[in-house]
């Protein structure tokens, strides 16, 4: 038997899905989803490598306290994926270290 989803459990009626890109790949997103929710829905759990050891990180606290889920959105690094709502056309990219190296700053 297919397991039910959280959207089904809450009887959600989300609007028309839109597209964002994750490291250039087109990915479906729903209105109301944060960037973190879009990434989790796509099966992605890490989207940052740390400044020191380059270890992968993703969501930890989920409420904006820990800053582990930092991500680059539309070339702006260090956004907390758990807080930022996804918008149509967003370019979400994996963040390496401080997120500034790739931007040449």
């Amino acid at each position: 038997m297919r397991k039910r989803t959280p959207l089904e459990l809450a009887q959600a009626r989300p609007g028309t899905p839109f597209t964002v890109t994750v490291d250039g790949d087109e990915t479906a997103a729903l209105p109301g989803q944060t960037v973190a929710a879009v990434l989790w829905s796509a099966g992605i759990t890490s989207w940052r490598s740390t400044r020191g050891s380059g270890a992968p990180r993703g969501i930890f606290c989920g409420i904006g306290v820990c800053f582990d889920c930092l991500v680059t959105v539309n070339d702006r690094p260090n956004q907390r994926a758990c807080l930022v709502p996804a918008q149509p056309g967003d370019a979400i990219s994996t963040q390496e270290g401080t997120g500034h190296d790739r931007l040449g700053t």
Partner: protein
């Protein structure tokens, strides 16, 4: 680092305290005209936090004629306990993920009526970073908040009284593998589920200690995840000595029984007096090792068992958000996990500042509602220049007394394993932001002579990162063998330098 980036490591002189803020004048006007991005609103009462405590206080005070501005970081009111699915989901049955839904709908409807009537201004998406007293003659307090997810602009609310209902966040003690993606706080898994209607993976282990784990495990299972194990480090027998407290709180017992029945229905294997000793994986968690605890809280050698999973939701209790109170100079009790000290009216020891809910000691939503209501009565009376009458809030005071006794008993029963530090291997990262290992912390104590968390921080950078030690302080203190103490952070959130440069008092 650039000046438009949120403060990253606490080294900037601008984060060292108010005395240094005057230098921000040199940055003002470089990018934007002064005050161009600052807005201002005024109120008799500013409330920080629209969770149960803040809502109860706002409604009570507004009922009594006080003009209230309610600032909250969420897009919708409710806080963490009543976190709602994003409005765009148009969920017809959000209560499927909630407890005490009817209490919420009453709060929500009363708030809507007050907002409609103009008695409460609800400012959503406001991240309060600083509350200052003696604010420029406009009002007694200035409450500064960053706007929206971008957090590049600040807004100031002035008020004659302030209620801090800043809530709490989860305590997680370090263990090998806890930085792997897929290891999330139990509350984080719940927040993502309630707010984003999304799951972290297919197969979860829920582990740690405390009353939050049960609803998290039940919620994940109901939403379609397989909960491969529910691992609680305490044992139901630990509660037996608190029989009288349990008998006085039948609603709490019924709540636990309800969650237990849900776990049974979803066939969640429940293991007590066990702990997760390690999470395994390379790019994400693939399994955890669970082991039995002896009555002293030590891992029993040879009892280790590996459980495959793609998610570990873990938590060891809750911590109070005390930053705003600390910068206002309010007394903090830091003998254990720090909390804001309040009197019978929920007043702090700073004139004009009240506090309620988890910020004043962890005790759950019902206690927060009672404390918020009491604060609302007290504030309304004192703003009106009259002595409050405790008889007005007698039922709430009785609830408060009963639940504080209950949570004191909870606290002693739901404690993390006494010897958890022994499981923290030298190569375990303790400070997640700065990637400081347990070995570095131990070296700071054993070889360099550090005897407190602050010295450990100066020697190792543990606690200097993005989260400013909010996540790691308890872990660092445990590994270092000292108390957590009071953090004294200058600001409650990272603040862009451009915002400081524009503050009206610079």
């Amino acid at each position: 680092m650039t000046d438009s980036e949120p403060e990253q490591d606490g080294r900037s002189p601008l984060l060292q305290g108010r005395g240094a803020v005057s230098i921000c004048g040199s940055a003002a006007g470089r990018d934007q005209p002064r005050h161009s991005r600052s807005r201002s609103t005024s109120a008799s009462l500013a409330i920080v936090g629209a969770g149960p405590a803040g809502l109860a206080a706002a409604l009570t005070a507004a009922d009594l004629g006080v003009r209230v501005v309610l600032l909250d970081s969420g897009a919708q009111a409710g806080g963490q306990f009543y976190r709602q699915p994003a409005a765009e989901f148009k969920a017809r049955r959000p209560q499927a993920l909630h407890h005490a839904w009817r209490t919420w709908t009453k709060l929500r409807d009363r708030l809507a009526a007050h907002v409609e009537a103009g008695r409460i201004t609800h400012l959503a998406d406001r991240h309060v970073w600083f509350v200052e007293g003696e604010f420029g003659g406009v009002g007694r307090f200035g409450v500064h908040a960053l706007l929206g997810p971008a957090q590049a602009e600040s807004e100031t609310v002035t008020a004659d009284a302030v209620l801090l209902a800043t809530g709490g966040y989860e305590k997680v003690l370090p263990f090998p593998g806890w930085t792997l993606p897929g290891v999330v706080t139990a509350g984080g898994a719940q927040a993502m589920l309630k707010g984003g209607l999304v799951l972290p993976g297919r197969t979860a282990v829920v582990a740690g200690t405390g009353p939050l784990l049960m609803p998290v495990a039940a919620g994940l299972a109901a939403a379609g995840a397989e909960v491969a194990a529910y691992v609680e480090s305490t044992h139901p027998a630990d509660f037996v000595r608190h029989t009288a407290t349990l008998a006085a709180n039948p609603a709490k017992v019924a709540e636990a029984a309800q969650y237990a029945a849900q776990l049974l229905r979803h066939k969640v294997p429940v293991t007590v007096r066990h702990t997760v000793v390690a999470a395994h994986g390379t790019d994400r968690v693939e399994a955890v090792t669970v082991a039995a605890l002896d009555p002293e809280g030590r891992v029993r050698p040879g009892t280790e068992r590996r459980i495959a999973c793609d998610t570990l939701a873990v938590g060891h209790g809750m911590l109070a958000h005390t930053d705003l109170a600390e910068t206002l100079g309010c007394a903090i009790d830091a003998t254990g996990d720090p909390f804001v000290v309040t009197d019978a009216e929920q007043r702090t020891d700073v004139d004009g500042v009240w506090a309620a809910g988890e910020a004043t000691g962890i005790g759950g939503a019902v206690l927060a509602l009672a404390e918020g209501e009491i604060a609302g009565y007290s504030i309304a009376a004192r703003l009106g220049g009259v002595e409050p009458r405790p008889a007005d809030w007698a039922p709430a005071a009785r609830t408060r007394a009963r639940l504080r006794r209950f949570f004191a008993a909870f606290d002693s029963a739901y404690a993390p394993p006494a010897h958890w530090v022994e499981q923290v291997t030298d190569d375990t990262v303790v400070c997640r932001c700065e990637e400081v290992t347990a070995a570095e912390v131990r070296e700071a104590v054993g070889e360099l002579g550090a005897t407190d968390v602050r010295t450990v921080k100066l020697l190792t950078r543990a606690g200097m990162g993005w989260c400013q030690g909010r996540v790691c302080a308890v872990g660092v203190a445990g590994v270092a063998g000292c108390s957590v103490g009071s953090a004294k952070r200058a600001f409650a959130r990272p603040v862009p330098l451009g915002v400081l440069a524009e503050e009206p008092r610079c």
